[in-house]
């Protein structure tokens, strides 16, 4: 049926198998759409957010997927800028994943913006943020940057879309796509600039809250330390997330899509960034515990009560910080497939935990001594939007994989079957 759309030289499952796969994700998206409909028509009372938890699951999810989507700009940055100018192996190796990274980035950012659209109380006038922009607000910076960056991602995504076999038959599109391709480094540079800023601003959003000693950080000029830590953690987690996504795609398709070297390189980059991040995070935490905290008249343990106990910081920095860093920077470990994946997964979990801690735990802690600890659990509508976003991501990734040449190495590594068994370049025997 859709053979004409499938890229040359690769094999895809039959449409009969692909359609039920799609139906599953469309079902999740529908849950999200029903939830969004309820939130638009009945208001945000459909959520379990309240005056205390002004931010909820959606903000955690937004912060997380934006951090994880950092793989896109960072891989692009390494491939097109660092790779072209300084370290050529980056270019050669990372080219294998840069397309996938762009798609993942596009998914993350577009769903984040869609979720924010539901999250604000007045989505129909959300553009007032641009019209009446308050330049002092970190959230203004975030809004501008992620919107602009989504544009960049779209431009980065377009050449890929235009490289679809059928679309390339239209000469105008082919030429347009090619031209875009030539200036992609420029967009990578713009994207990098924007991304650094909004990743940072997202951290800055919490670091500037001087009324909330748990989140407040000192900093450099107008930027609190969380500004830099958020950038650092996002580029540490981004490659790991890209790695995980490709690995899952391999599992699902039963094919090798990139070579083990590329996995290794992603893991190595991720690992070293995470290792340095964790060191800085520990320094930051200690400085905070001995600076901001006592100045607010509070003690470290005041912040870890109720359902958000001390286990959170142990989990975030210890279990899901130090351990994956060690796994990923140690060649012996990251060369083992199981440890590689566990390391990347733990890295991702650690960053999600960090974003959770900053958005939810910050709000659960009473600052007035006579106020009380609060806890929060999202409503099904909130879960619906988040899970719908996941469904959308998988759906778009599946479509991109099926119809676009996402992995340049795929055709080479998976020659079209003649005998039912084939030997790939790397020498590993794979079932088809």
């Amino acid at each position: 049926m859709d053979l004409a759309l499938i890229p040359n030289g690769v094999q895809r499952c039959s449409l009969k198998r692909f359609v039920p796969w799609m139906v599953l994700w469309i079902a999740l998206i529908s849950w999200g759409l029903v939830s969004a409909f309820l939130c638009f028509f009945k208001g945000l009372n459909q959520t379990n957010m309240n005056h205390y938890f002004a931010f909820g699951l959606w903000i955690v999810f937004d912060l997380s997927i934006i951090a994880l989507g950092a793989g896109a700009f960072f891989t692009g940055f390494l491939t097109h800028i660092i790779g072209e100018v300084f370290i050529y192996p980056f270019r050669d190796n990372l080219k294998a994943v840069v397309n996938a990274a762009v798609v993942i980035g596009f998914i993350c950012y577009s769903s984040a913006i869609a979720m924010l659209g539901v999250d604000v109380g007045q989505p129909l006038r959300a553009w007032f943020i641009f019209w009446h922009a308050n330049v002092h607000s970190m959230l203004t910076e975030v809004s501008f940057c992620i919107t602009a960056y989504l544009g960049v991602l779209t431009i980065e995504y377009l050449p890929l879309v235009f490289s679809n076999r059928k679309l390339r038959e239209i000469p105008e599109i082919d030429i347009f796509g090619n031209n875009l391709h030539h200036i992609i480094a420029l967009f990578a540079a713009v994207g990098t600039f924007l991304s650094f800023f909004h990743q940072g601003s997202l951290g800055g959003m919490f670091g500037v809250l001087f009324g909330r000693p748990f989140a407040f950080r000192e900093g450099f000029l107008i930027w609190p330390w969380t500004f830099f830590l958020f950038i650092h953690s996002s580029i540490a987690a981004g490659p790991s997330f890209t790695l995980l996504c490709v690995w899952i795609a391999q599992k699902v398709t039963g094919k090798e899509l990139i070579t083990r070297d590329v996995f290794n390189l992603l893991a190595k980059i991720s690992g070293w960034l995470l290792a340095t991040y964790i060191v800085l995070k520990i320094v930051d935490t200690i400085a905070w515990a001995y600076g901001v905290v006592p100045r607010a008249g509070m003690s470290f343990m005041d912040f870890y009560q109720g359902s958000y106990g001390i286990w959170l910081i142990i989990a975030e920095i210890g279990i899901f910080g130090i351990i994956p860093a060690i796994i990923l920077i140690t060649p012996k470990f990251r060369e083992r497939n199981d440890l590689l994946i566990i390391g990347a997964l733990m890295n991702v979990i650690g960053i999600v935990l960090d974003r959770f801690v900053f958005s939810i735990q910050t709000l659960s802690i009473p600052v007035m001594p006579f106020d009380k600890f609060m806890s929060y659990f999202p409503s099904w509508q909130e879960w619906g939007i988040a899970i719908g976003a996941i469904g959308y991501g998988i759906l778009l990734f599946s479509l991109s994989y099926r119809y676009l040449p996402l992995f340049p190495q795929e055709a080479e590594m998976n020659p079209v079957q003649v005998l039912g068994r084939a030997v790939t370049d790397s020498g590993v025997i794979k079932r088809s």
Partner: protein, 252 residues
């Protein structure tokens, strides 16, 4: 985060004497009826109802019969260094440099709630619901204050419309300066034990300027540097201590 002191012009502030406050709740009722505040079916949900002036209860923690109860009415602190203003993306909340009052523009607010995350006093309420007034009660709504729509944040404005009212009266009489008792928010006016005083902190002759010099005067969470313009008074040491966080060794 730099402090903006408006040494010129007015700096309206409030002093609440907790030793006089009896916890009767009249300030809350006066505020709600003055400012067209909507009511939910379930007003017991303090995490979602609209309360510009919330009363908190504190006790001295002693066993029966040595227990003491004190109430803390909490309007918007109208901070001189407000944590909420700088964070608002569409500039929907601002500090008036001539009065020190933190405004909220409901028709511009996009409902991102960042200001609520920023405010440690929980002085801001978000409209999770469409504004609801029990059947027929929209007939008592005051035209001086616009009712808020769903999806925006609202908060105490020191009854800003009363300032406008007083100003237009004064201007009509050819005066530029307001007298001390000309502009008083509804809560301060209603307080039956006169525990709430209101005036210009920049005017040394106003009662509030005298009161804040008292050794019993304090503000909530002073150490955070928000510089509230709402002061409290209490002769009780344990009450003053409850207003801020202190480390074990730092008993004041």
């Amino acid at each position: 985060m730099k402090k903006e002191e408006n040494s010129k012009g007015n700096r309206y502030g409030m002093v609440i004497d907790l030793d006089k406050c009896t916890g009767c709740g009249l300030c809350t009722v006066a505020c709600a009826s003055e400012n067209n505040i909507s009511v939910l079916y379930d007003e017991s949900d303090k995490t979602r109802n609209i309360a510009w002036l919330q009363i908190y209860t504190i006790t001295n923690g002693k066993d029966f019969p040595d227990t003491e109860v004190v109430y803390i009415p909490r309007p918007c602190m109208q901070c001189d260094n407000p944590p909420c203003v700088s964070v608002c993306p569409p500039t929907a909340t601002r500090k008036d440099p001539n009065t020190g009052i933190i405004s909220q523009i409901y028709s511009r607010c996009v409902g991102c709630r960042y200001c609520m995350a920023a405010c440690p006093y929980h002085a801001r309420s978000f409209n999770w619901f469409d504004p609801s007034f029990p059947e027929g009660m929209d007939r008592y709504l005051s035209p001086e204050v616009s009712p808020r729509m769903r999806g925006v944040v609202e908060k105490c404005t020191f009854c800003h419309h009363r300032l406008m009212r007083a100003r237009s009266k004064a201007y009509a009489e050819g005066r530029r300066e307001l007298k001390e008792d000309e502009y008083i928010p509804a809560c301060a006016e209603a307080c039956p034990t006169q525990a709430i005083s209101f005036g210009d902190l920049n005017n040394p002759e106003h009662q509030v300027s005298q009161l804040i010099k008292s050794p019993h005067a304090f503000r909530l969470l002073e150490r955070l540097g928000t510089e509230p313009k709402v002061y409290y008074l209490s002769a009780k040491n344990w009450v003053r201590r409850m207003a801020d966080n202190y480390l074990a060794g730092e008993l004041s």
